[in-house]
Symmetry: C2
Amino acid sequence: MIKTPYLLFLGDAPDQLAAKVAIGIKDWRPENAVAQFRMDGCGADLGIQDMTLAEAKAAGARTLVIGVANRGGIISDAWKSVLKDALAMGYDLASGLHNLLRDEQDLVDTAVANGRKLHDVRVADVQYPIANGKRRSGKRCLTVGTDCSVGKMYTAMAMDAEMRKRGMKSTFRATGQTGILITGGGVPLDAVVADFMAGSVEYLTPDNDVDHWDHIEGQGSLFHVSYSGVTMALVHGGQPDALILGHEPTRLHMRGLPEYQQPSLEELRDMALPLARVSNPGCQVVGISVNTQHLGSDEAITYLAEVEERMGLPTVDPIRIGAGRLVEALETI
Amino acid sequence: MIKTPYLLFLGDAPDQLAAKVAIGIKDWRPENAVAQFRMDGCGADLGIQDMTLAEAKAAGARTLVIGVANRGGIISDAWKSVLKDALAMGYDLASGLHNLLRDEQDLVDTAVANGRKLHDVRVADVQYPIANGKRRSGKRCLTVGTDCSVGKMYTAMAMDAEMRKRGMKSTFRATGQTGILITGGGVPLDAVVADFMAGSVEYLTPDNDVDHWDHIEGQGSLFHVSYSGVTMALVHGGQPDALILGHEPTRLHMRGLPEYQQPSLEELRDMALPLARVSNPGCQVVGISVNTQHLGSDEAITYLAEVEERMGLPTVDPIRIGAGRLVEALETI
């Protein structure tokens, strides 16, 4: 687990897009975001207070999170100087960068000298077990998508937030680097060795109270040939009681695969449900989450209504409309 | 690639079962098995010539293959002495042991000093690409099973052998350690990092002559919750034109999962075919391979006939009966 709360390091991010991870943290766990740290030339702004390392430390921050992509895959000397100061001041560091903190000898030396931790969230540090398939107590919800990057993480985050707002027992379970940095823990599933994928998902979603819901962050798609094995491990390791179907209606083809068309929601349902029932015979498809960000407001409402009518399932955009009806659908099972 | 042919090291294997890998090499690639090397107390015998290191070297052996499980996961001093002599004499070493040759400093030093290679076939040494899903030329056949360990590798090996006997273009593509040692190359799929699984299968089965068949070694089962993600990567990365359904009819439950029943062959067909058609819309289920080793001879013949009648597909035990009818089924597509 990464110690919270955080000081969010934006470095010299050229624009808002480069700060995607930090924005996710600020949006979904504002209580984790003590302040932002920006360097000269930074083009991103989270709209929260700027603090120095010392100020944020005094305000309670325990980890400096690199919430930004770096340029050219290099941790620059300018960054290094801030990161080393932070370690010396008692911060741990956490990063989702492709190039790892642990591969920078000066950072390792400074961390060791100060008794601090370096968290590279793209790396699987735990020796996960082989999945045993045993039924676990508590309930689990998984979003499966017609494609990658259709809003599965946001759906799970929104459902978790809505449940907690209603006083229900709920946990978001991160399976990717952004989710892990947002919540402070999880499994970097795409970095886990094949034999242990399903076991890592079991490990992530252990026995729990019978009225507790895990909202498991989805990955890939059963229809995306590059990553479908990862999705399969979530479907079987996650043992979901409920599936949400995720969709982005404006895609012209599967992400990164110009030769592949998205499946219909019906095809997704008919593929995912029998697979999920292998590990949980009671699994049901309870709702549909549509990412309507590329539709106009009227267009979005019309589209959601059409899908709801056609599929006979509550259909929302959890960001635009809210996740309430998906949460209510869970209460029926 | 591991240099062939081999001297098969049986060490002090307590019994025939411990020499499973070496037996596989001798059965499927007798031309790769120059001789066996047995130490005092060895309880295994491949029924081929015993040779010293020097004799086998003179007979053309280029790699000493550790074709045996070791006791307690330790590479003993007695073994070490033989292995080091082999390296000094110009052999490469290849091993499927859990504990790795590369973790033994004295073996590494000896290999370096003599310019030899240590092959640990459980380890994925290649940086595989992310799968791109592009259609490749040539044809591919994959066996998918109702369970793990139902004879998928033997089915693929038998079909490949039968095709080559008939003068057809065919390659067995190994995805597990035994298959890799038998043939000298392949992808240790269960050791590949999640994101690269499907890409490693694409890498393993590249473009080929239009009348060439790859027989891809299957892994796991779509119905085995521990390993289904690995199977999925084979189904999508392998882009099979033909599926064979593999089954072992005497299993009481899924291997290692007492709470899980095997699916029927119909359930397997109905799950696997739509998944395979995502990456290859022309894919067909062409035949059934039953492992009848635990049935009597009459019982086996009755069972095969029953399944063939029920499923409407050529149904054989490729070891007991031969793979000819499965090969003929491929010729129809």
